[in-house]
């Protein structure tokens, strides 16, 4: 697949269909891949990669990239297309400046999960079907790919590309994921248990802002947490309450717009399962206002910014909150 995509990148650039190509650039190892804008064919030939470690979602880069001169080609995995379309819907990306190529995805691997299996000194990974052959400085190892998939890929919501100019490979389907299972488990906890769960998770936060900066739904020109006039622009948690404020306020701000791309949890250096907050909002919205997937289309109005006469009454939400 890498070769096909690479050839496409070269073709788009040399035919003049695109002036720049946003893709993945190889690193020192197999897994440390960096998003990069390619402008010459030679660089694509040498450095362009697409493998099971190409997790980064490029949609947010397009907010800035589509405002530059010329056209940019971008490769989008199925879940990335939801973020892309959501940003288009919010008028954050200039559509005619982007050439979107949908590419297939078999699920991305989380290098942390490989490390958690006590595999140390990883120098190379080869995909052999369902198995990953891992070279380490301590010898060869093998793991099943399904055991080291990123959480968001284990619970993949869709293999379908919702928007593109061109598609490589065959179109997939929206999947019946189990992504709300853990949310249900947390909902079933007692209030004290739930508080303890989140306190344990959120107290690890170091306020690095990686979750916010990577989030395709966080595109404010000036974030409230960076605004000295807001009174809440503290860079560190002054007490344990502060971390909750940051993450819960952020989850509220992206509610109804979060496509559940999972970038927040991917980038968290403290491995906080931040996506669970967003999924709780998505699940609630589905239950209160009917099934809704942000970014799935350009037309439907988002439940939280739309009023229907049959919308559930606020009291329903209050009652549910009491449970």
């Amino acid at each position: 697949m890498q070769e096909v995509i690479k050839q496409k990148a070269i073709e788009l650039l040399s035919s003049g269909k695109a002036d720049r190509v946003l893709g993945w650039k190889e690193g020192e190892f197999f897994y440390d891949i960096t998003p990069a804008v390619f402008t010459d064919v030679k660089e694509i030939e040498e450095k362009f990669v697409y493998n099971a470690f190409c997790g980064p979602n490029f949609s947010k880069y397009l907010v800035a990239e589509s405002r530059k001169d010329g056209k940019i080609a971008v490769f989008l995995k199925p879940c990335d297309t939801y973020s892309f379309q959501q940003l288009l819907k919010e008028h954050r990306i200039l559509r005619d400046k982007v050439y979107a190529v949908g590419i297939p995805c078999d699920g991305m691997v989380d290098i942390e999960k490989i490390r958690q299996k006590k595999i140390k000194g990883i120098t190379g990974v080869t995909e052999a079907g369902e198995v990953l052959q891992i070279d380490t400085i301590y010898g060869k190892k093998e793991v099943a790919k399904k055991d080291v998939l990123a959480e968001r890929c284990e619970n993949c919501k869709s293999k379908k590309h919702v928007v593109y100019d061109e598609l490589i490979g065959e179109e997939g389907d929206v999947l019946d994921s189990h992504r709300f299972d853990l949310v249900e488990k947390i909902e079933a906890m007692s209030e004290e248990e739930r508080f303890a769960f989140w306190q344990n998770e959120l107290s690890r936060c170091i306020r690095c802002n990686a979750c916010r900066n990577v989030c395709p739904a966080c595109t404010c020109e000036k974030c409230v947490f960076d605004n000295p006039a807001s009174g809440i622009d503290q860079k560190a948690a002054a007490d344990s309450f502060e971390e909750k404020m940051f993450h819960i306020i952020r989850a509220f701000h992206v509610a109804g717009r979060c496509t559940d791309c999972g970038e927040c949890s991917r980038v968290c250096p403290q491995n906080i399962p931040l996506h669970l907050l967003n999924r709780k909002f998505i699940k609630d919205i589905n239950e209160f206002y009917g099934e809704y997937q942000a970014g799935a289309d350009m037309e439907t109005r988002a439940p939280l910014t739309d009023y229907q006469t049959d919308d559930c009454e606020p009291s329903v939400i209050l009652t549910k909150g009491d449970q």
Partner: protein
Amino acid sequence: MKKISLEKLNALFAEIAETKALYLPVDTETGAQYQKWEEGKTLSSALNTVRSAKDFFFPQTESLVHFKVEGKKIEIMDVRDEGAPFVIFGVRGCDVKSFELLDRVFLQDPVDTYYQNRRNNAIIVSLACSEPEETCFCHSFGISAADPAGDVTAWIKDGEIIFRANTEKGEQLLAPLPLEEGGEAKAEEARSEIEAITKKLPLQNLPLEKFKAENLMDFFNDPKWASLSQSCLGCGTCTFVCPTCHCFDIRDFDTGHGVQRFRCWDSCMYRDFSQMAAANPRLSQLERFRQRFMHKLVYYPANHEGRFLCVGCGRCLSRCPISMDIVKVIKELGGERDAK
């Protein structure tokens, strides 16, 4: 040297913890973290902690001073305390080295007494790295994974842990403990094994030769910063997991009963780091990204006899959301990248 069987390690921890607070890396669901030892906690087998050991001396937040404000009057309250001796067990060579680099900032005149108190109270037991990771490159900065510094150096080998006191503080820590004499041969064996592994690590011999004060302007003006910083998210992950990053902010927090002035970690990657009322000298991410690496590779060495502000722990390599790290910067700017 002294030694004890690994089976008795927890009893040893209990013994140390009788008189002093003892901290050590403990495995958690989300990686190893330093925790205070208590019955039931065991030493992690992970190579390194997710957060670095700098937290012991330069915590993420700390109170500097409190104020009571009443009308036009202000009262100042010194909230410093002397602290008490504590032991950090199992610090890796890279993190031990980071203390020395931070000392050069915080203990340089005028001394930062908050940092100094904690530093004086700490007894550091380092642990040699039996299984270095591919992301390790401490060797490039002259650090030995096989024989780390610290008040005491420890090696784990064949079911035993061997200790060598390096300082008076270290001697005093070991003296009352129920240890056996000996272990020299095993320590030597462990050392040469680790050195052999170190030679096999992929990130060795980084091209650092050109990073010198006299090339400051050349590096600053290098056009490659543009592509290096291109996809940087501007988050603070690298700076916060880094054992040597030490930039901080000072802020006031109104508690309703007075004002707490506290210091917290800050990141040169943030836009407001250098924002003034009317101007910002580092407007784009390129300038902020450049500041971080210039500080580590050129500015700090220029002020500290050529020492780099990096210890090769590899945390930024595994934590950067977009995998743009100091190794890539050194290779890109310091010389031709190896042909693959």
